[in-house]
């Protein structure tokens, strides 16, 4: 035996080998998603080695691991978040049941704020709304608020612009642009004649329409907030023009060569005289209506993450119209209004590092409105009568208002998509109302400094549950009052993808200036919202159901004196269904709004259903693009129950009482619009895109009555109707783009 030890060593090796082989741990398991559906082909890998297996078609895997001690297993499958698991190898078989989270199921997609709100974003996926979807609703006349009337919670109020949400008046909805309040989104209101919006709806890349329960970052709106986010840099330089019989406009956007800044100017002028000759109108317009709007902007990308934006809009309107006098058939009421408005907004956002972000904005608005009411005889001569009510029907009034706002919000992003946001804002307003009647002049001046501080946190509770807690405190120097408004919302996501949301919040709003002018001892009006909703998005379809209850407190009443003596409630259920899938190329949505509301408010003698509310509203919006003929067709239809109307008489001695009341007929209106797209110079290098747009509101020509005006003595009533049964538009728009997108793409390949 020359090498007696050799065999021994070999044997030892064999033994060790045997031991090593025996010291294998069989790890078996199944990989499923949170719906308990098996995930075939998931990869199971040992971290730090190339040892791994994948699951079979039943989601099961078998992994034999040698050695002892701790190992980390990585389990992954496309479309799911990878997960890591620690296992201890000790010769015993291990069985693992592994659940992988859907990538889309991360907390980031539990959008807490989705309660009470509709978001139209340029990041919308599947059947969520995009800003274009919102602004192409037929018949909105270029006003986002009109388009949003086809979403749940809003009422169709034909005689006024603005949003009437869940039993609230249009003054209880506020619009915000890049965080700052937009004090007068529409041209100055004219009786029974909805006015166009001042801002072009295509200015916005994000539209969040909250019909209640909105974030503590916003305030001063009892019912609803419309939160608008303006576009950043355009993707190309372009020029555009449009020619409609009653409106013409031109504009351009210039994008710097380095793609880091842009500026632009737009102007448009509209005069309805010609249109009103072709389509007869009920009021006799002796001026316009005429509208001018001009805007300028610049946008600068200050760094990788920084953006500075400036937007300024000047607008002017002039309307003069005559209507039969309600109190006397031999007299005519003449109304004339000139309105000037200047709005500017400078906003800045930047990442400060360490997951901190800042958003800041300053805004300024100047508003001047001159109104003249005259009593005319049939020969158009002004008549001055000393008898009431005629003594009150000759007057001039001027409103001058200055509004400024500064606002800073800081936010920090934390793990699990948690975040905290806090900030402060300051509102300055200065208003002067002067009226001159034959009996004398009145002037009232008011100014207010309102300071608000707010904080909000997004909190992770479990992977399927999140909360948003916020609070807002405000102080007004004019009211000499402070308030504290808590806001809470909760979201829970079901394994199948459905989500349930709840919200509670208190909302405050300063009484309108016209009431404060008469009693500046008023307090904040307030509303409390309770909302619950369920929603599910899947396969390019979107379903949402929401129920709410709200109470109004300290609403302004005008009798016996101006006070906070009012209150009210609103409750309702709303359904929304959008489907982009069932009918190829057709996108449609259906909205149903049920509303039960009553309030004691202004001169209402007791709690009644306000005239801007109706119990049932059903809307259908359909859009289709006919690709082969370059035609886009849009239809929007609403069927709503009638609205109440009242004649509230206020005797000199005694309390107001309802001397007459009723309900209007059903509202049944279909709007259609078409856009035919073409190119006049298709061979040109900078090919232009042109389109002919045409549309008709109330195509069936149903006779709509929105309510009634009553004479002073209640003996005569006159219906409030649209100025014409149908309204039409047709026009040409052209866009010339110097398309730099290809340069951009090439740079980024």
């Amino acid at each position: 035996m020359m090498f007696p030890g050799r065999n021994f060593i070999t044997t030892l090796f064999f033994i060790f080998d045997f031991i090593a082989a025996a010291a294998q741990t069989r790890v078996t398991g199944t990989v499923k998603n949170s719906n308990k559906e098996v995930l075939p082909g998931a990869t199971v890998r040992v971290k730090g080695s190339d040892k791994g297996v994948y699951g079979d078609s039943t989601g099961s895997f078998l992994l034999s691991l040698s050695g002892k001690g701790k190992r980390i297993l990585q389990i992954s499958s496309a479309g799911y978040q990878s997960s890591e698991l620690k296992v201890e190898l000790n010769d015993f078989d291990i069985h693992l049941d592994i659940t992988l989270k859907d990538s889309a199921e991360t907390l980031g997609d539990i959008v807490v704020i989705s309660v009470g709100s509709f978001e139209a974003s340029d990041k919308a996926k599947g059947a969520a709304l995009t800003p274009i979807d919102a602004v192409t609703v037929a018949g909105n006349g270029g006003d986002i608020a009109n388009a949003l009337r086809f979403l749940p919670g809003a009422q169709q109020i034909g005689e006024q612009d603005g949003l009437f949400v869940r039993g609230g008046s249009s003054q209880e909805t506020k619009q915000f642009v890049d965080g700052a309040l937009l004090p007068s989104p529409n041209f100055a209101s004219v009786p029974a004649l909805p006015q166009p919006a001042r801002l072009n709806p295509f200015l916005f890349k994000g539209i969040l329409f909250s019909s209640g329960g909105y974030s503590a970052l916003y305030g001063e709106a009892l019912s609803s907030a419309l939160i608008l986010e303006s576009v950043d840099l355009p993707d190309k330089s372009s020029a555009a023009l449009h020619v409609f019989p009653s409106n013409v406009g031109v504009g351009f956007q210039e994008l710097a060569k380095d793609n880091k800044s842009s500026y632009g100017i737009n102007a448009s002028y509209g005069n309805e005289q010609l249109y009103n000759k072709i389509v007869p109108q009920i009021p006799d317009y002796f001026k316009g209506p005429e509208y001018f709007s001009g805007d300028g902007n610049f946008r600068i990308r200050t760094s990788e993450t920084g953006m500075l934006k400036f937007y300024c809009n000047y607008s002017y309107s002039n309307v003069g119209m005559k209507n039969p006098n309600i109190d006397s058939s031999s007299l005519i009421s003449s109304f004339e209004q000139k309105n000037t408005n200047l709005y500017s907004n400078l906003s800045y956002r930047e990442s400060l590092g360490n997951n901190w972000k800042i958003d800041a904005a300053i805004a300024y608005n100047y508003y001047r409105d001159e109104m003249a009411n005259q009593l005319l005889n049939e020969e158009n001569q002004q008549r001055f009568l000393t008898v009431y009510p005629y003594s009150q029907q000759n007057f001039d009034s001027t409103t001058n208002s200055n509004f400024a706002q500064a606002r800073v919000v800081l936010r920090k992003q934390l793990v699990h998509n948690q975040a905290i946001r806090f900030g402060a804002e300051y509102f300055y307003s200065n208003e002067q109302l002067s009226s001159s009647y034959t009996s004398g002049d009145t002037i009232s001046k008011l100014h207010d400094n309102l300071v608000a501080v707010f904080a909000e946190g997004d909190i992770y509770i479990t992977k399927n549950m999140a909360a948003k807690l916020g609070a807002r405190a405000e102080h007004s120097t004019l009211l000499n009052q402070s308030n504290l408004a808590p806001r809470i919302s909760l979201a829970y996501r079901f394994p199948g993808g459905g989500q349930i949301n709840m919200a509670y919040g208190i909302f405050y709003q300063i009484p309108e200036i016209t009431y404060l002018a008469l009693n500046n001892d008023l307090n904040f009006t307030s509303a409390t919202h309770y909302i619950i909703n369920y929603q599910k998005k899947e396969g390019n379809r979107f379903f949402r159901m929401e129920a709410y209850y709200k109470t109004y407190n300290r609403l302004v009443t005008t009798y016996p004196a101006y006070s906070n003596g009012g209150n009210g409630y609103a409750r309702g259920v709303e359904l929304f269904w959008r489907d982009k899938r069932t009918f190829k190329g057709v996108d449609y949505w259906i909205t149903y709004t049920y509303l039960d509301t009553k309030r004691k408010w202004l001169d209402y003698p007791y709690s009644i259903q306000p005239s801007f509310s109706t119990p049932h509203t059903l809307s259908v919006v359909v859009k289709k693009y006919f690709q082969d003929i370059n035609l886009s067709a849009n239809m929007a239809y609403t069927l709503a129950t009638g609205r109440p109307y009242y004649d509230i008489q206020t005797p000199v001695y005694g309390s107001p009482f309802i001397s007459d009341q009723g309900t209007t007929n059903i509202y049944n209106v279909m709007n259609v619009s078409f856009a035919y797209l073409f190119s006049i110079f298709p061979k040109w290098k900078n090919k232009e895109f042109s389109g002919i747009g045409l549309g008709c509101n109330n195509i069936f020509g149903t006779k709509e009555v929105f309510g009634y005006y009553y004479s002073y003595n209640g003996m005569n009533k006159m219906s409030v109707t649209p100025p014409a049964t149908r309204s039409f538009y047709i026009g040409l728009f052209m866009s010339f783009g110097i398309d730099r997108r290809n340069d951009f793409i090439n740079e980024n390949l």
């Binding site: 075939p40 990869t43 190339d50 994948y54 479309g79 996926k125 396969g539 693009y625 290809n742 390949l749």
Partner: protein, 203 residues
């Protein structure tokens, strides 16, 4: 069940590609994407497994055309893998391979348009089109590039350059190129099914 092993990589690759030729459903493509990814991690240097893994995920994005909410994770995964494949090519020499990579990049960007054409169309649509053009420029004889170009011509509105007649020509060209191609083994050879499907719709 497949176990990683250092041997028979080519057979494994061939077997997986053969499976891919039969695949139809999201589940199958998902499993195959995982298979290719595992092979890629073993091979470390080969561009093909990454290419195929990216292709499978891009394909899933196309299958989910009417289910926008689901697409993004697949597009992200595909983009990551195809970039890896691209980085493994010598772009000066491997023109044919590069052309295939551009095709998948085009498909990935197109699948991002499907997420919601209204919001992502203007951002990713031109990028997808550009990659198809690059794929054709790099290798005019790539039937998959012709197929994608045909698809674009078929699906784009006329005003934005769509052309059904041209689409048909391109698809027929792609079909011819596919039919006359030599057996490709594990190299990219997909397309017959896709081309026939689209030609059927054009009839």
């Amino acid at each position: 069940m497949l176990c990683f092993s250092l041997q028979a990589q080519d057979q494994e690759m061939q077997a997986t590609v053969t499976k891919l030729d039969q695949a139809n459903t999201v589940k199958e493509y998902q499993q195959l994407a995982g298979d290719f990814e595992a092979i890629a991690q073993k091979q470390k240097t080969g561009w093909l497994p990454y290419y195929y893994s990216a292709f499978c995920n891009a394909k899933i994005g196309w299958i989910y055309q009417n289910d926008g909410e689901k697409i993004e994770p697949f597009a992200d995964k595909a983009e990551k893998d195809i970039r890896k494949a691209e980085s493994m090519l010598d772009t000066a020499i491997q023109k044919k391979e590069l052309s295939e990579v551009y095709c998948v990049l085009s498909m990935v960007n197109r699948s991002r348009v499907f997420v919601n054409p209204m919001s992502y169309g203007s951002q990713y649509g031109p990028v997808a089109t550009r990659y198809t053009q690059l794929a054709l420029k790099t290798n005019p004889d790539n039937p998959r590039a012709n197929y994608l170009e045909g698809w674009t011509k078929y699906s784009t509105p006329k005003l934005w350059g769509g052309d059904k007649k041209k689409a048909k020509e391109l698809l027929e060209l792609a079909k011819q190129q596919l039919e006359s191609a030599l057996p490709a083994g594990i190299n990219p050879h997909w397309g017959k099914k896709e081309v026939d499907e689209l030609l059927n719709e054009l009839k």
